[in-house]
Subunit: 120 residues, 2 copies
């Protein structure tokens, strides 16, 4: 996944997923997380995703979407629902999900290379 995600001119939508992992089942989690990233990227309205987790198990994943409808559709996708249930059952100590409308963006890149990122 490209980082930062190359998103279009606002407005568009973002889901901020802030989480703390349990220490359970690292391999199962890693496989499911990668699978969900790849599945999300095939969904209608998907624009991009950025995901970072530190050594303490704290993570922030932000996914970007064209519409609120595309967010809702992904949230209720059958395979994603299975992953969500497993996340609550074993992988996450806690998480917070926030849905947002992105109003403004700006981009900086060292050396002024062409980057294909839209300003607002």
């Amino acid at each position: 996944m490209e980082f930062p995600a190359p998103t279009p001119r606002p407005p568009y939508y973002a889901v901020i997923f802030t989480s703390r992992r349990t220490t359970n089942d690292a391999l199962g989690y890693a496989v499911m997380a990668q699978c969900m990233l790849e599945l999300a990227a095939t969904q209608p309205g998907f624009l991009g995703i950025e995901s970072v987790r530190d050594a303490d198990g704290q993570g922030i994943t932000v996914s970007y979407w064209q519409t609120l409808e595309s967010i809702h559709a992904w949230g209720s996708h059958a395979e994603h629902r299975v992953a969500q249930a497993a996340g609550k059952a074993k992988w996450y100590e806690m998480f917070q999900t926030r849905s947002c409308r992105v109003e403004h963006q700006s981009y900086f890149q060292r050396e002024g290379r062409d980057h294909g990122h839209a300003a607002d």
Copy 2:
């Protein structure tokens, strides 16, 4: 800083700061980053902040604010402007800043402990 940040019932605002560090000046960066976290927390309208960086230097920091005006005021704060200039001069390979209106949130915590996090 509490993680995830305990935010009030929406609507409120978020700034998603996605960045990749250079390998320059790790100590100077760490001191300035901590200083800016503490200074942000004293600003009018500040609600909370979440920051994660992985071993590859990719980071996502999300700060939460009551209003767009409080975001603009922090963006133009004199000491923050000095930090921003240093960030472009030496600390960041690239970054993307996105300002958003948070419309909806939900929270999960294992074992149902009281957490003080508002649903929407």
